[in-house]
């Protein structure tokens, strides 16, 4: 490759779509239908729309990675493309490195195990000469604010926000004219979100590259973009682009519509059911108590013949879980919030100290929740994990809901009510893995509640959720609280904590966590 490319600045890319449509292999309906869109070089576009509008499909197509699975076998040739989608007048697939794509899950945005190697990876694939690669690596790391890390720093030691910034550096090192971000901050805590947003802003100011970003949280990106395009699920009669214009205009014109579609428009907190009466702290039946608790995800390790106890991520924790009370566990990333909650929920063994269930909760099962059998646990403490897919154990929504009650031998009558209440009735025969993000979240809450636990523990229940799912979840939990369930949630979401009321436990940053 010519080295003059390095001397030259980034050449911003233009996007042209004319009647473009795409149907994924094995699907009846197209993901995108009849899209007409022009993006000028250097423009910064925020792509909005309800789930199913084909936003991710468009980004993948622009990145030239759509339909790759078909090439390697499988349902080859079954996917359908219509119309044209061009980057700088040419098919995206034919222009490797012209566009860079960042996806949602930070773990899969990292390719190699050392920071410098990971940034260099894209440039290597574009056959950039060796010396130029390292110059690009240093520059890209500086641009995303990671230049303080040595090049051999292990990528596994980075936080989520740092991983996403590293991915951005890897993209920048390719010098792409088009940067594509697919919900880049959905899995990050508030600090991580700002870290990534600011790094993107700096890089765009410097390179002038074109940006297309998909994200539910409009307020994060509103001031950075100069255009908002709202897509809608395509049909024969409606155009794929519903609205298109400067951010302020689109947000004023379509505020109500966007909010109704679950988009987090700035300054909008969805209305939620308020609690009948928030009980005073310290009231309500005591169900679970933690004393002098030290927690860790690690089990005791064996080194040769010696047994080494796990290093606790937090020590000296104390807390009480009471019926009808909400407990919010907050604090910075890496503070061990989830670890604490999982220990409280009887899923992790305490390193030291104890979690004890009162007689009201244990009902003869013993004092230590970690020692309970799985069937004893689910009818007492239910835990909803951050990633719903981790908890799916059957192949059908209805079976998923009946799973707990069947094991317990009672409570099947509750399933109907939960299906109704969490709007899953239409989906009873669907495979849980094929549901949308919001549906998966509602299902995972419903499945845990089907066993009628007295304590409900939720790990980041609102991460990456649209405003509608958010509001439904908050309202539903406030009903549960009024009915006497104790709700423990690990969350970064201040509005969510507010909506539930109750006690907050703020955990300090753990010293054991190396940064």
């Amino acid at each position: 490759m010519v080295s003059s490319q390095d001397a030259g600045a980034v050449r911003p890319a233009a996007v042209t779509a004319r009647g473009w449509g795409w149907r994924h292999a094995g699907r009846a309906k197209p993901a995108v239908r009849a899209l007409d869109l022009d993006i000028r070089p250097g423009e910064r576009v925020l792509l909005l729309g309800p789930s199913g509008a084909g936003k991710s499909t468009l980004l993948h197509a622009l990145a030239g990675v759509l339909g790759d699975v078909n090439d390697d076998g499988g349902e080859a040739g079954d996917a359908d493309e219509s119309g044209s989608l061009l980057v700088d007048g040419a098919v995206p697939r034919a222009q490797r490195g012209r566009a860079g794509l960042m996806q949602q899950d930070p773990e899969t945005q990292v390719v190699l195990s050392r920071v410098g190697d990971d940034v260099a990876f894209g440039a290597e694939n574009l056959a950039v000469p060796r010396d130029a690669i390292w110059a690009r690596v240093h520059e890209a790391l500086a641009d995303v604010g990671l230049s303080h890390l040595p090049l051999d720093h292990p990528t596994s030691a980075l936080s989520g926000g740092q991983k996403q910034r590293l991915a951005l550096a890897g993209i920048l090192a390719m010098r792409p004219g088009l940067i594509l971000l697919d919900e880049p901050t959905a899995n990050l805590d508030p600090d991580g979100v700002l870290e990534v947003r600011d790094a993107v802003a700096r890089c765009l100011d410097k390179t002038g590259a074109t940006l297309v970003v998909v994200e539910h949280r409009v307020s994060v990106w509103k001031d950075l973009v100069d255009r908002i395009v709202v897509l809608q699920p395509g049909s024969a009669s409606d155009p794929a682009v519903l609205l298109d214009g400067p951010p302020d205009r689109v947000l004023t014109e379509a505020r109500t519509m966007l909010a109704a579609a679950g988009v987090w428009v700035p300054g909008y907190v969805p209305a939620t059911r308020s609690r009948a009466a928030v009980p005073a702290p310290g009231t309500g039946n005591l169900l679970l108590a933690a004393e002098e608790l030290a927690v860790s995800r690690e089990r005791p390790r064996r080194k040769g013949f010696r047994k080494i106890p796990a290093v606790p991520v937090q020590e000296g924790l104390a807390s009480q879980v009471r019926a009808g009370q909400a407990l919010a566990i907050t604090g910075p990333n890496g503070a061990g919030k989830s670890t604490f909650a999982l220990t409280l929920a009887g899923l992790l063994e305490p390193v030291s100290g104890k979690v004890s269930a009162t007689l009201d909760l244990s009902r003869g099962a013993g004092i230590d929740p970690y020692r309970w059998k799985a069937e004893q646990l689910i009818s007492r403490v239910g835990t909803v994990f951050q990633e719903p897919e981790h908890q799916f154990v059957t192949g059908k929504v209805l079976d998923e809901l009946l799973f707990g009650p069947r094991h317990l031998g009672h409570g099947e009558e509750r399933v109907e009510e939960l299906l109704e209440r969490l709007r899953l009735t239409q989906l009873v025969d669907a495979n849980p893995y094929t549901l949308s993000g919001g549906e998966k979240r509602r299902l995972s809450v419903a499945t845990v509640l089907a066993a009628s636990p007295q304590v409900l523990v939720l790990d980041e229940p609102t991460f990456g959720q649209d405003a509608n799912t958010w509001a439904e979840l908050a309202s539903f939990l406030s009903e549960l609280l009024d009915a006497g369930t104790a709700v423990v949630s690990v969350t970064h979401d201040a509005e969510f904590t507010e909506a539930l009321g109750g006690v907050q436990l703020r955990m300090a940053a753990a010293e054991a966590v190396a940064r």
Binding site: S113, E124, N125, S156
Partner: protein
């Protein structure tokens, strides 16, 4: 496991050698030792290996921590050989069905020493070779296809993640009422279900990672390498070291008359 694969801070001599030359040296020694079950060649090789392992930046404690499963396996292998092999010479121990004779003891010790002598270089190689450097050497020097080498390297990084994922899925399933404790049957069933959950997550992760790699231009024909894999004088020493250890073991065993090709029977 992820920490153990990380070589940061290991600046030992052998850590600087090219992975291919280290691999060649280990292969040579292992090949000679695999040919014969005798205690002379194995002990000669073992003595050299023990003298050389500080060059890999390891202490005896670390060696034990990393290699104990292999070391224990070699010891158990030696013990069982000495009691189960056909007896010859004076009987040293007779406990019912277990008998140990001079001949079988000799065979057992040979077996155990050989196990140590084969396991030790492998542990050394793993402790002073970074997987990324190994991939660089395999693709650039051994000319293996880079798609295959880099794909494997990226997948290996996911293996560490999968270990964490396994724990999380286990907890998540317990929270659904699937017990991982109880009778053997229940446990097997729970483990199978958990494995399926892990498989689904592994496939999802892998396909997302594949998209990431493709979006970074991976899979094209021409590619450059940011890290050049080079051979130096050190590599000559490493390979010569391998030849020397292998040769001396062979020579010592043949001279002592204990050389005993495995396929010729004992």
């Amino acid at each position: 496991m992820r920490q153990e694969l990380n070589l940061r801070g290991n600046h030992a001599l052998l850590a600087r050698a090219n992975p291919l030359s280290k691999f060649a040296a280990v292969l040579l020694i292992t090949a000679v030792l695999a040919l014969s079950i005798d205690w002379v060649s194995a002990s000669v090789a073992l003595v050299f290996e023990i003298l050389l392992f500080p060059l890999a930046g390891l202490t005896l404690t670390q060696l034990w921590q990393r290699g104990w499963p292999l070391i224990l396996a070699a010891a158990v292998g030696g013990w069982s050989t000495s009691i189960l092999a056909p007896d010859s010479g004076r009987i040293l121990l007779d406990v019912g069905i277990w008998t140990m004779s001079e001949g079988s003891l000799q065979l057992g010790i040979g077996f155990m020493l050989r196990g140590f002598a084969i396991a030790l270089p492998a542990v050394l190689l793993m402790s002073c070779t970074d997987p990324t450097d190994l991939a660089d050497a395999l693709a650039q020097k051994a000319r293996l296809p880079h798609r295959f080498v880099l794909g494997t390297l990226a997948a290996m990084r996911l293996v560490g993640l999968m270990a964490e994922e396994w724990q999380t899925i286990g907890m998540a399933r317990r929270a659904r009422g699937v017990g991982s404790r109880g009778s053997l049957g229940q446990r097997i069933k729970a483990t199978l279900g958990q494995s399926f959950g892990l498989l689904v997550q592994a496939i999802r992760r892998a396909s997302r990672l594949a998209v990431t790699m493709e979006a970074r231009g991976f899979g094209g024909g021409q590619r450059t390498w940011a890290r050049e894999s080079t051979f130096s004088l050190l590599d000559l020493w490493v390979v010569s070291g391998g030849v020397l250890v292998a040769g001396l073991s062979l020579f010592a065993a043949v001279t002592a008359g204990t050389w005993n090709m495995v396929w010729l029977g004992s």
